[in-house]
Symmetry: C2
Subunit: 268 residues, 2 copies
C-alpha cells in the first residue's frame, strides 16, 4: 500500500480508496476489495457486454449498485443506449470514486447518466420507468446489499423490465458460495422465463472462478447474441470478445451437477 | 495450518506437506503451493484429458515432473494407456506424497506406471522409447524446473514423440507471466507443426487464470477432440467436460493480442 486517499465511515459501511503498487488504486467497502484499477475491466466488461449484445436494441439500462461507475462506463459504449439510471445506496462510494478513481467514475458525468442515491429495492419497487436491461452490480450478500439477493427485489426487477428484458446480477463464486448461487437461481427461475449462469476469472476476489446469473423474459444469450454488433461498435475490450462470450456459459462439471435443474435456458 | 506432516531439504528444494483447514493437505516446494487436496483435480484433469481425448489412441505417455502423482492418476483413467513413465527429479517429492497425499500418489503403484527419479532433460535426451503424449507437469521456471522451459528440452521432446504426438506443458499465468508464455510458445512454434494455448481457473495459484501450452505434429485439440470417448470412459471428472474442453481455448482479448502470431493452430 502506497497511500490512503479516502477513508470514511458512511451510513452503510466503511469506504476506503487506497493506492497499491500491484493493482493501482483500489476501492474497499468494509475492508473487502471492490474495484482495482488493474483488473476492474474484466468484471465490468463481462457483466455488461453479454446482456447488451443479447438484447436486440438496448435503449434504457438500470444499474443497481455499481457506484464506482465501471459498469456504466461499459454500458455507454453501446450507441443504442439513450439513458442509464445508476442507483447507488451509498453516496460516499460515488464521491470517493469521482474524486480518486476517474478510470471508472468519469463516465458518470455523461449526459445520458442519471445518478440516484437511493436504495435499489425501493427504487425498483416504485419505478414507473421500464428498462431493457437491469444490471445488479452488488457487493456480497452481507451488509447493505443483502436485500438485493431476495425474492421481493427480483419481483420488482421483473416488473421494471420490458417484454424482452434481461437482468444480470453479480453471482458470487461457485467454489465458496454454491449455496448462495443456488438460492439466487431458484429465485430467478421462479419469476423469469429462462435462467442462465456464466463465469469469468477474478484476479482479486477469493476463489478465482466467479459468476454472473441471468434471468430473461425469453432471450437467450447464446442464440440471440449479436456478434456483428460487437465488431461494429468497437468496444475496445481487453478481456471480453465473442469467443469468451460463448465460452463463459460452459460450466465445469461440479457446477453443472449442482445447478442443472435451476438453469431453465440452454447453456451451450 | 493444522500440522506439518513432512519437511525436508532435498538436493533440489525444500519439500513440505502440511495439513490445512480450507484446502486439506498441501504440497509446497520452497514454500510455494504445488498441490492441494481440495483443488488439485482441476489442474490435473485439464492437463490430461484435453490431449488424451485429442490423440486417437494414446498408449504410451511420458510425464515430466508431477511427482505428486495427480497427472498420472488422470492418465490411467484412459483404458487405451499401456504404459506411463513418470520422470521426477526429486525423490523427496514422490516420497512425501506417497506417505501423506495418497489422493494423488496412490496411483503410482499401478502396474502400468514406471517411476524414474531422474532429470527430465537427460531422460528425454537419451530416451529410445517413443511416446504418444508428453505432459510437462513442471513447477515455475525458477529452481530445478528452469531447463524445462528451454529450447533443448523441447527438441528432445519432439524426438521422443510419435508421428501423431502431442506435448502439453504447464504454461503459467497470463496476468503475471505473459513474457514467459510468449517465450515458451515461440520455442514450441519453432519445432511443432501447430501450437495452442488453453486456460483454466486456478484457485490457489496467484493470478487465477492459468494456462497450458500445446505443441502437436498435426493434431488439433478442437477438430480432433473425441467427445464420444469422453462419454464411454466415465472419467469421473469434477471440472473437465466436453464444453469446458472447447471453452478453454477461447482466449481473452489481451491474450489473443499478445499471442496471436505464436498460435499456429486454430484456437476456436
Amino acid at each position: 500500500v502506497r497511500q490512503t486517499l479516502f477513508s470514511e465511515q458512511s451510513e452503510f459501511q466503511h469506504v476506503d480508496v487506497i493506492e497499491t503498487v500491484p493493482f493501482g488504486r483500489m476501492l474497499l467497502n468494509d475492508g473487502l476489495v471492490m474495484v482495482t484499477e488493474r483488473d476492474e475491466h474484466i468484471y465490468h466488461e463481462m457483466m455488461v457486454h453479454v446482456p447488451l449484445l443479447t438484447h436486440p436494441n438496448p435503449r434504457k439500462v438500470l444499474v443497481i449498485g455499481g457506484g464506482d461507475g465501471g459498469t456504466v462506463r461499459e454500458v455507454l459504449k453501446h450507441s443504442s443506449v439513450e439513458k442509464v439510471h445508476l442507483v447507488e445506496i451509498d453516496e460516499a462510494v460515488v464521491r470517493a470514486c469521482r474524486l480518486h478513481i476517474p478510470q471508472t467514475a468519469a463516465c458518470l458525468d455523461d449526459e445520458r447518466v442519471v445518478v440516484n442515491i437511493e436504495d435499489g429495492v425501493s427504487f425498483t419497487a416504485k419505478s414507473k420507468e421500464k428498462f431493457d436491461v437491469v444490471l445488479v452490480d452488488s457487493t456480497d450478500p452481507i451488509g447493505p446489499a443483502t436485500p438485493l439477493f431476495g425474492e421481493d427485489f427480483y419481483s420488482s426487477v421483473y416488473t421494471c423490465l420490458n417484454d424482452e428484458g434481461i437482468v444480470v446480477a453479480q453471482g458470487e463464486s461457485a467454489f465458496y458460495e454454491g449455496e448462495m448461487q443456488s438460492k439466487i437461481l431458484t429465485i430467478l427461475a421462479s419469476q423469469f422465463a429462462a435462467t442462465y449462469i456464466y463465469n469469468y476469472t477474478n484476479m482479486t476476489y477469493p476463489g478465482s472462478l466467479w459468476s454472473f446469473v441471468v434471468g430473461t423474459k425469453g432471450l437467450c444469450p447464446l442464440r440471440d447474441f449479436d456478434e456483428r454488433r460487437f465488431s461494429r461498435l468497437s468496444l475496445n475490450t481487453r478481456y471480453y470478445n465473442p469467443s469468451i462470450h460463448r465460452a463463459s456459459f460452459a460450466l465445469p462439471e461440479f457446477m453443472r451437477d449442482k445447478f442443472d435443474s435451476l438453469l431453465t435456458g440452454i447453456q451451450a
